[in-house]
């Protein structure tokens, strides 16, 4: 039941600096923990987050085991035209999630 929460302003003026906030549901298991029986709990983390605007990559982050569960990633960007932000999270064990949000620029 993975799901994302995205916060992108629906409207902005050309040249505005806007903040984009994303929250993705994920356990971010470090791979350093052991079960009571002594077996290693396999690593299960998100390894990469990418944001594209109208097809062009504008933000990318690599994630590592020290990052808390349900990673909250925010960043700023300047908007020059109306369009669509596409977000992609990729991780261990074939984890892959996408989300998108549109903005209209006046």
């Amino acid at each position: 039941m993975a799901s994302a929460l995205i916060n992108v302003p629906p409207k902005a003026k050309r040249g505005d600096i806007i903040e984009i906030k994303t929250l993705m549901s994920h356990i971010m298991e470090t791979g350093y923990r052991h079960t009571a029986a002594g077996e290693v709990v396999p690593r299960d983390i998100i390894t990469s987050f990418t944001c594209r605007f109208n097809g062009n990559e504008i933000f990318r982050a690599d994630l590592f085991p020290a990052i808390a569960a349900n990673p909250f990633i925010t960043f700023f960007t300047t908007v020059t035209e109306s369009g669509k932000f596409e977000f992609e999270w990729i991780g261990d064990s074939g984890f892959s999630e996408t989300a998108s949000a549109s903005i209209s620029v006046e």
Partner: protein, 257 residues
């Protein structure tokens, strides 16, 4: 003789009530003890990880399940209307068992009797999600738990447990949360123990959790044997601490350190 009895009764009352019970005007939610960063996390729906469970709960609310093939929504309709204020009244008196039950137990009782489905395990993602979704509909509603007179004997039992010293550290809930809430324990605020935001996202847990989980953690912290999930004592304690927070607005799903 009569006056001796009166003095003894007064002493007994003082002993039970404790001199330091928090006056209603001085009650504070755990929210007010948090840093501005953690407050910001709770305040905004897209930053509050608890909302991930609420979203899951919304999907489960509409999903048909069990032998009856019914979804929550088939009987209760739109939760925004039908569930508003409901969480602010729990734990509530259950006629069938003649005991108080909390919101998680109410959802499971509905599952078994109405949906003819198996009950969801305590702290499972599904049960927390449904509880969070129902509780969310009461965000901002003042807590009313304990208004039902049938609950009085159970509140009294819960209060007894709240005051009871136990465990290797020989502490009762009141020793911290009534007497020392303005102090710190290992760098963390002690707080007044008002359960205004459950189920809530605890940064320490990296997950959403129930009030029973929180109570069990505190009981383990005083090095006492924690009651099992669903134990009558735990529900009575939930009932007392919720009734103690009566009038305070519900924050679910809250964020706490």
């Amino acid at each position: 003789m009569r006056s001796f009895g009166a003095i003894a009764a007064a002493l007994l009352m003082a002993g039970i009530a404790g001199a330091t019970e928090i006056p209603p005007g001085e009650r504070r939610s755990g929210y007010s003890f948090m840093t501005s960063d953690t407050k910001a996390m709770q305040d905004e729906d897209t930053a509050n990880p608890g909302m991930l469970w609420v979203l899951d709960g919304e999907a489960l609310w509409k999903r048909k399940t069990g032998a009856a093939g019914k979804a929550c929504a088939d009987c209760h309709g739109d939760a925004r209307a039908s569930m508003k204020g409901v969480a602010a009244r729990y734990p509530a008196f259950d006629k069938e068992t003649g005991r108080p039950i909390d919101l998680e137990q109410r959802i499971n009782s509905c599952r078994t009797s109405q949906q003819q489905a198996s009950p969801l395990p305590f702290e499972s993602r599904e049960l927390l999600a449904l509880t969070a979704f129902v509780a969310r509909q009461s965000q901002g509603v003042p807590i009313e738990t304990g208004a039902d007179p049938q609950l009085a004997p159970f509140i009294a039992k819960g209060r007894e447990l709240y005051l009871q010293r136990q465990g290797q550290l020989n502490l009762g809930c009141a020793n911290c949360h009534d007497d020392n809430w303005d102090k710190r324990l290992a760098g963390s605020a002690i707080t007044q123990g008002h359960p205004t935001g459950y189920p809530l996202y605890r940064l320490e847990w990296q997950s959403l959790g129930s009030l029973q989980r929180r109570l069990r953690a505190c009981i383990t912290g005083i090095r006492a044997q924690a009651y099992d999930y669903g134990a009558p004592e735990l529900v009575e304690l939930e009932l007392y601490v919720m009734s103690r927070a009566r009038g305070m607005p519900l924050e679910a799903p809250a964020v706490r350190p």
